[in-house]
């Protein structure tokens, strides 16, 4: 069964990069642009894992994480932080709230896949079946 991953980031660029990294794998990617949307999508879609940014408008990632961990229906969803924030106090605070892993931007797509693979079974998509080659068209009848 395909894994479902929720990417919560206000940057469309990051969501596109995450989508590109996941393209070879059999998984469904859901997206949200801030923490408030992220909580709503998490409740609706019940993802297998959440990738979470910190600095976002409306509701930041730390607030979303706090609320997620307070919700009995959502608190067991593993969260990987994907953020440029790596300040000592922030990292300690976030770790205490309970995250599976932490990836600091900038990142390589390989690093993201490696972190996801530690928490999910990512299976490569099966290659699309190769369509049989069309039969050669009959040679045009020579014109009289």
């Amino acid at each position: 069964m395909a894994s479902k991953i929720l990417s919560v980031d206000d940057s469309r660029t990051i969501r596109l990069i995450v989508g590109r990294a996941l393209r070879p794998y059999d998984c469904v990617l859901c997206e949200a642009g801030n923490g408030e949307e992220g909580l709503a999508v998490a409740a609706r879609e019940k993802p297998d894992l959440i990738l979470l940014d910190v600095t976002m408008p409306v509701m930041d990632g730390v607030t979303m994480l706090t609320k997620l961990k307070e919700d009995p229906a959502l608190k067991t969803i593993p969260v990987i932080m994907l953020t440029a924030e790596s300040g000592r106090d922030n990292v300690i605070h976030i770790a205490r709230l309970g995250v599976r892993d932490y990836l600091v931007k900038p990142f390589k797509e390989d690093q993201l896949i490696e972190k996801l693979s530690r928490n999910l079974t990512l299976q490569k998509r099966e290659a699309a079946p190769v369509a049989p080659a069309p039969a050669p068209a009959p040679a045009a009848a020579p014109q009289a």
Partner: protein
């Protein structure tokens, strides 16, 4: 299990890259205000890149090191003040984050170049700004001409530059580039007990290549180059901001 973990343990667990000690140490020292200048000199002398940049700033008219009239870190600090060294130290994580972003997300080598040797910006260019406020206040400005911005955006998104017709898409990439740089920058400040908050990035077309200096602060102007693009980054900061 994670409750008792300290930063070093977490840093190992999450595989964080080591932080640049000289930048963190210098930021901490200057932030204290009562630090011994000899200690500051010692930290700067241990970091040749930082030392070179400080001397270059202290000798604005010199074209190369042979022309420097100010030759030591002590003289440079006397001339430019400790605040100047602080802004230089603060801008180091920013510069490293940009260079690392180029390596990891653009797969290109980016180098910091002498601002005076950079090709000047076109009249109209893309300007990204992020302000920060707290114990330290200021702003980071990132400038690129449109061709450079299009190339950078295309590389990051894995597209051809010709496909990048939507300026909003280019703006979003530039905004994220700024976010990544400034996030690393802010982390260094927070580690030096200079807590501050970032404002959302603003990216727009501009013809103004002057960056306003924050009251009571200094300005560091940097330029970076890849084989296809040039990026200009200015940082203005007041490390002794009274508003908190």
């Amino acid at each position: 299990m994670q409750n008792g973990a300290n930063y070093q343990e977490l840093s190992r667990r999450y595989g964080f890259a080591p932080k640049l000690e000289s930048a963190s140490r210098l930021t901490q020292l200057v932030a204290r205000q009562d630090s011994d200048v000899d200690e500051i000199v010692k930290v700067i002398n241990k970091d040749p890149a930082l030392r070179d940049r400080l001397l270059r700033v202290a000798n604005p008219d010199a074209e190369n090191a042979a022309e420097y009239s100010i030759e030591t870190v002590e003289e440079a600090l006397m001339r430019n003040g400790v605040g100047c060294a602080m802004v230089l130290a603060m801008s180091t994580p920013l510069a490293l984050a940009l260079i690392k972003t180029a390596q990891t997300m653009l797969s290109v080598k980016m180098e910091m170049i002498d601002r005076n040797l950079a090709e000047p910006l076109e009249n109209e260019h893309l300007l990204g700004t992020i302000g920060f406020s707290g114990k330290v206040a200021g702003a980071v400005y990132l400038r690129m001409n449109l061709a450079s911005a299009r190339m950078v955006a295309a590389e990051i998104l894995g597209m051809n530059p010709e496909e990048m017709a939507d300026v909003n898409e280019i703006r979003d990439v530039v905004g994220e580039l700024l976010n990544i740089m400034t996030g690393n920058f802010k982390s260094n400040l927070c580690d030096a007990s200079l807590d501050c908050k970032l404002q959302p990035p603003e990216v727009k077309l501009s013809t103004d290549s002057q960056s306003p200096v924050v009251p009571g602060g200094g300005l560091e102007r940097m330029a970076f180059r890849t084989d296809k693009a040039q990026i200009f980054v200015d940082v203005t900061a007041n490390p002794w901001n009274s508003e908190d």
